[in-house]
C-alpha cells in the first residue's frame, strides 16, 4: 500500500516537474531562426566554399597534391619569354599560365587541407553556403580567367617555345658533342706523337699509347 502511494506520488511529481520545465522553456527566448528570412552570421573563417584568387596563383600544384579526394584539377602552361606575368601580391614571380583551375565542390569535403600549403595564400574558404544546384556539374567551379582562345593561344605558344628550346638544346648538345670529338681527336694525335717519340728514345715500340703514370 505504502509503495503504491509512494510511486503514485513520484509519478505525479515527475509529471509536474516536467511540465514546469517545458513551460519555462516555452516562455523563454526562442533559439531557432526562421531560415530564409533570417540568416545566421557565419564566422568569417568558416569552411563553406572554396575560393581561389587566381591573380595570385603561381600554379605550383601544392593544393592539388594536398587534396585527399583529388577534386582540384589544375593545368598550367609555362609563360613564354616574351610575356611577363608579373608578380603575385606576396611577391612571388608568376611563371605559368593557369589554363585550367577547376574545383569540384560536389566532391570536396571541406577539410581545409588544400588551404594551408599554398605559398601565396590564394586558395581559401569563404563563408558562402547557399550554392545548391539542380545539376551536379554546376558545382564544378572554374577559376581560370583565360577564355578558351587564350588557352589555346598560350598553349600553342608554350609548345612552340618548348619545341624551340628543345631544338636549341639539341643543337647545343650536337655542338658540344662535336667539340668534344674534336678535342679527343687532337688529344689522341698528340698522344700518338708523344708515344712515337718515347718509343724512339727507349728503342722499342710501346704496347699502348698510354701514359705510364709511375715513370
Amino acid at each position: 500500500m505504502l509503495t503504491v502511494v509512494k510511486q503514485g506520488w513520484s509519478t505525479f511529481k515527475s509529471i509536474f516537474t516536467g511540465m514546469g520545465i517545458t513551460i519555462r522553456h516555452f516562455f523563454g527566448p526562442s533559439v531557432t531562426l526562421q531560415y530564409p528570412d533570417e540568416k545566421m552570421e557565419l564566422p568569417e573563417n568558416s569552411r563553406a566554399k572554396l575560393y581561389v584568387n587566381i591573380d595570385d596563383c603561381i600554379g605550383c600544384f601544392l593544393c592539388a597534391r594536398a587534396c585527399p579526394v583529388n577534386c582540384i584539377d589544375i593545368e598550367t602552361a609555362p609563360a613564354t619569354a616574351d610575356v611577363d606575368l608579373g608578380k603575385t601580391s606576396t611577391g612571388n614571380p608568376k611563371r605559368f599560365w593557369l589554363t585550367r583551375f577547376d574545383i569540384d565542390m560536389a566532391k570536396c569535403m571541406y577539410c581545409d587541407l588544400c588551404v594551408h600549403p599554398c605559398p601565396t595564400n590564394c586558395i581559401y574558404m569563404v563563408p558562402d553556403y547557399e550554392y545548391s544546384e539542380f545539376d551536379r556539374s554546376n558545382l564544378i567551379y572554374s577559376f581560370s580567367n583565360l577564355v578558351p582562345e587564350q588557352v589555346a593561344d598560350v598553349k600553342e605558344k608554350a609548345e612552340a617555345e618548348a619545341e624551340e628550346k628543345k631544338r636549341q638544346r639539341e643543337e647545343m648538345q650536337k655542338a658540344k658533342a662535336e667539340a668534344a670529338r674534336k678535342k679527343k681527336e687532337m688529344e689522341a694525335k698528340k698522344e700518338e706523337e708523344r708515344s712515337e717519340k718515347d718509343g724512339k728514345e727507349k728503342g722499342r715500340a710501346p704496347s699502348k699509347p698510354e701514359n705510364d703514370g709511375g715513370e
Partner: protein
Amino acid sequence: MIELISDTGERREMTINMGPQHPSTHGVLRLELVLDGEIIKKVKPHIGYLHRCFEKYAEEVGDYAKVIPYTDRMDYVSAMNQEHGYVLALERMLELELPERVEHIRVIVAEMQRIASHLLGIGAFGLDLGAFSPFLYLFTEREKILDIFEKISGARLLYNYMAVGGLMRDVHPEFKTDVAEFVKTFRPKIKELDDLLSYNRIFIKRTANVGVLPVEVALNYAASGPVLRGSGMKWDLRRNDPYSIYDRFEFDIPVGEGEMGTLGDCWDRYIVRVREMEQSLRIIEQALDSMPDEGDVMQAIPKRIRMKEGEVYVRTESPRGELGYFIASNNSASPHRVKARAPSFVHLCLLPAISKGSLIADMVAIVGSIDIVLGEVDR
C-alpha cells in the same frame, strides 16, 4: 517468413528485421530478431551499410595527414576525440614534444566534444523512449558547443582541427571567455536534465532492470567507456592510462551503482553519461585556468612526416569507450597499416548477450543505452 501459428496450433518463432531504416538504430543497422511473441529469443546485428574502407584508404592515400579528415568521419558525433587518438598515435611514433598551449586546447575541445556527444547520445536515447522535449533542450546546448567549434575550426561537425604536432589553426581570441561562458550556463542544465529525464518515473520504468550487463560479461566482451562503467567497474583511460595531459587534472570517475534497479541496467549506463558531463566540465575549468595565453600552436608541426619503421598502439578514452589506433609504418609516405579499435563495434557485439529474453519494445532502450555510432562500427 511470418509464421506465427503452425497448422497444428503450436507456437512458432517469428523473425523480423529491425532496421536498416529504423529510426532508433542510430544510423543504418539491421537487427535480425527472432521473437517468441514479444520476447526476444535471438538477436543478430548485421553491419556494413556504412562501410567506407577507412583502413584500406589510410594505406593508399599516400600521406599521414590526409587520413585525419577520414578519422573524423568514423565517429562523426565525436570527431575531435577521433582525431585526438590518431594524432597522438603519430606523435608517439615521431616522439614529438608538444607546446603546452596545444595540449590544453586539445583537452578542452576533447572534453567539450565528449559533452556534445553525450548530449546527443542521451537526447536520442530519450527520444527513442518517447521523451521528445529533453532531446530539443539538449540539442540547444549542443549547438552552443558546435558554435564554439565552428569559430575555432571553421566547421561544425567534421573539424579536421588537430594536426600532427599541433593544431590546424589557433583558437579565436575570445575562446577562453566563450568556453567559460558555456561552462557557466551548462551546469544548471544538467540539473534540469535530471529533473526532466533522469528521475522521471516513466523513464525509470522504461530503463531500470532492462538490458542488464553484469560486469563479468562486460569484461569478457572487452567493453569499455560508459558501458563498462555502467556495470560498476571504475575504468577510465584518462585515469588508468593517462595520455596527453590528463594526469594533471582532478576528476571523478562516475560508475553505475544500481540505484534504480539492477547494477548494469540501461539506467545505470545512462546516468554514467550524465555524471561524466559534470566531470568533463570540471576538467575544462581546470584546463582553462592553466592554459597559456601565448604560444604558437603550429610550431611543432613537422614539414613532412617521416616515419621510422615500427608500430604503435595508442588508446584514448573517446565518449564511447576505448578508442585505439594501431599504426604500422614501413618507412614510406603512407602508413603500412592502420587499424582502429572502435568501441562501438565492441559494444554492438554485446547486444545479443544483453538483449536475450527482453521485450521487443526494450530493444530500442538497449540499443540506445549502449550508444553506438554506426560510422565507427563499419568504418
